[in-house]
Amino acid sequence: MIPSLRYSIFVALAATLAACSAPDAISVSGSSTVLPAVSKAADQYSAETGISVIVNAGGSGGGFNQLAEGQTDIGMMSRDITAGELGKFASLNFQEIAIGRDAVVPSISSEIYDAGVTALTLSQISDIYSGRVDNWSEFGGPDRAIFAIDKEASRGTRQIFMKVVMGDPKAEAAGADLVTGSNNEEQTALTQSDAAIGMLSYAWLNEEVRGLSIILEDGKRIEASLDTIRTGEFPFVRNLNVVTRDDTSQAAQAFIAYLLGPKGQKMVEDAGYIRVSN
């Protein structure tokens, strides 16, 4: 009994060492905004080539950290790498490659939209998130308290939104009543509420969660649409990036080439975003 146990421990150890050197699948990790496009493309790529592509969520910041620490082959980011992030890993070189374009859209519960609040200025949105205004009646809506939904600080969606609205991607939102993580979670919270405002990727808007138009300082009103995102008129447009390091494997590079090719770009469109190449 005991010798056979010792033997099995030995075998297990040997197997561990052997398996550690086995060739790996491609792993991709990061932004929940970029994820749907990459994940769909990954499924198709695996089916075509037999190479498995493992896709993991965790937010843009998480994706970058995992890439920098060598735990994933490709990071997904719905924003640019910040100077602070680069500084933490100064010895490494990173490449950002845009695979699609998207917009963050200030989104509200359909009840408020239907009651007449369909557009706001940036400073009005800023008033909501900094806690200066807390009732929809101030913007011509019903007399209901505004339920402001924030996102976790490292999320790409939040950083674009806060940069445009408050001027600082890391701004604190004193007016926030709830914090969510992924787009799915934010969408759920907006749907369940009847007086909420939040921030969503364009692809997550639907009948229950409506995107606000933005009124610019010159009075021009810009609706969130694929057209205004493509032209860059809508103020919250961003690139959806995949990020690599200098030592990223050939296999991972091949997958990125696939993402930028016609089939990958179709998946970007299917996921509700705008392609970067034809």
């Binding site: 009994m1 005991i2 146990l5 010792r6 099995s8 421990i9 297990a12 197997a15 561990t16 398996a19 550690c20 086995a22 060739p23 790996d24 699948a25 792993s27 990790s29 994820l35 749907p36 994940s39 990954a42 499924d43 695996s46 498995s52 592509v53 493992i54 896709v55 993991n56 969520a57 995992q66 620490e69 060598g70 735990q71 994933t72 993580g181 992924s182 799915n184 979670e185 969408q187 759920t188 749907t191 369940q192 229950e208």
Partner: protein, 287 residues
Amino acid sequence: MSERVNIRRVQEKCFAFILRASLALCGGVLVFLLGSIVVKGFGSLSLDFFFTPAKDFGKSGGVIYQILGSLLMVVAAAVLVLPLALGTAIFQISYNARPKIRYVLEQSLYALNAIPSITYGLFGLIFFVNVLNTGISWFVGAVILAIMILPTAILSTYQAMAAIPKTYQENAAALGLTKAQVIRRVTLPQSFHGLVTGLLIGLARAIGETAPIMFIATAFSGVTVPQSLVEPVSTLPTHILELAQQSTDPQALQNAWGASLILVGLVAGFSGLALLIRSRLSSEGRK
């Protein structure tokens, strides 16, 4: 005087009511919990759900790789914990001379049992994923789960060993067997059911855990059967976590309930097996 009796009688009535109400409340919660898992879960169960991979971020398709991933990880955890639990239990029962060492060991095991599951995940992330640089790997998840179930496995084995009548070992020793021989010929066979039961109870707990493995061992999509030890897998609990975050999507929600029912079924299966083996083997061992 009679007024005093009346007050007492009213108090008694109230007390009886509170007792019944509390039990009814507990019963109500129980029926609601199990009822909703079973009723909601059965709605999405089908052969396809068991045997096809997840599609569309879990909204359609089944959970085959989640079931396989969960089972792979907990079975590996059991294999890892088995020799360690056995050795420690024998040490406690046969070799432990100094009370101080015994005390340290006991307190360590209680501490291990008390540590919140999320901090096991944190420890795994630091120690394995970063310091030993394993990356996100199902095997690291199995190691962490093994550590989590270690106290249960040791305790169960130890109790079975302690229940062996002292005369057995004494007789064996009187026949001239060495200590190691006594352990191999008497202690082990007589307490094997304790080890198996402990492992199964541990498995039942480990398979339902999300927090310890979500940083270190699992991935969201694209996972099939891992080809090496350093790949992530997908598991039932982490799959439910993803689906629970999109709870306004009826399809996602339905699949979350289906996965929950399977998970609860696996937990109940391992626990049931543990009970069965405890009653079977412990009575056989005595013969």
